[in-house]
């Protein structure tokens, strides 16, 4: 593909910040994924995501952020929905001063027929048995309609 313009995704109606933070003892420290948040409680089309790792990431080289086509208001950290529609890794090692950022865009949009839920895990694939350590909070910004 020849060099071209910088891709731009038009602004959308909703831009939401999720703070996925392991709250330590409340969710079992490092043994479970970060807090599982419902983003959209109904059909939604996802256009862009920005993931920031603001912690020191001392025990995690990478974290995988997983997006599920589900809505479940009872979801909590430790639940294991097995089949995400989208998985994106982010490198988190380093110091707090070196915030790691991954961002991506989906120009045509990715439709979630049920809704969007997000979970962060220290493991790739579908596995959710381990979470990032306490020092690795994530901020996840999503643009969707």
């Amino acid at each position: 593909m020849a060099a071209g313009r910088i891709p731009v995704v038009a602004p959308h109606d909703v831009r939401k910040l999720l703070s996925l933070t392991d709250v330590g003892d409340e969710v079992g420290a490092d043994t479970v994924p970060l807090a599982h948040k419902n983003v959209a409680d109904g059909p939604a089309t996802l256009y862009s995501v920005r993931i920031e790792s603001t912690g020191d990431g001392s025990n995690n080289v990478k974290i995988w952020v997983k997006f599920y086509n589900i809505v479940d208001t009872t979801l909590v950290a430790g639940d294991s929905p097995s089949a995400p529609d989208l998985i994106v890794p982010i490198r988190t090692e380093g110091t707090a001063a070196a915030v790691k950022v991954e961002s991506f865009e989906i120009p045509e949009g990715l439709y979630f027929s049920n809704g969007i839920s997000v979970m962060a895990s220290a493991e790739d694939g579908n596995t959710l048995t381990a979470g990032p350590n306490d020092a690795t909070p994530l901020d996840v910004y999503l643009s969707y309609v």
């Binding site: 593909m1 313009r5 998985i87 961002s103 991506f104 989906i106 120009p107 694939g125």
Partner: protein
């Protein structure tokens, strides 16, 4: 990939690869290099215009080859039946070993190895 990029190019990408998953192929995987070469992935296009029967899921493995249905994917992107879906990774996603890719109809990044019912073209840019 169309001659005119649908969504523009990402700075840093120096090469592209197209993987065509033919109709109901029993072995839905392919690799960029077949050798250990670290790469950074910048863009993915999943063309399902000839696959209208079902959505698909393209799994990217950080490996020279992959056991589809068993190995864990590093990156998972969804393709929509009858449409073209594009993913643009501004910072790039590093693969330390290489990239192997599989496109299946099974959601998720691990289990399932069912090939699409129609032809799916997956193109990705990397450096």
């Amino acid at each position: 990939m169309p001659a005119t990029p649908r969504a523009g190019a990402i700075a840093g990408a120096t090469a592209s690869k197209k993987v065509v998953i033919p109709d109901s192929n029993g072995n839905p995987r392919d690799a960029i290099t077949g050798a250990s070469v670290a790469v950074v992935l910048y863009a993915v296009e999943i063309d399902c215009t000839a696959n209208t029967g079902e959505d698909v899921f393209t799994r990217f493995y950080d490996a020279n080859s992959a056991a589809v249905g068993t190995d864990d994917a590093e990156l998972l992107c969804k393709g929509i039946a009858g449409k073209v879906e594009t993913y643009l990774f501004e910072k790039g996603i590093p693969f330390a070993t290489s990239i192997s890719v599989a496109t299946v109809t099974n959601a998720g990044g691990t289990g399932g190895a069912t090939s699409p019912s129609g032809t799916v073209k997956v193109t990705f840019e990397y450096a």
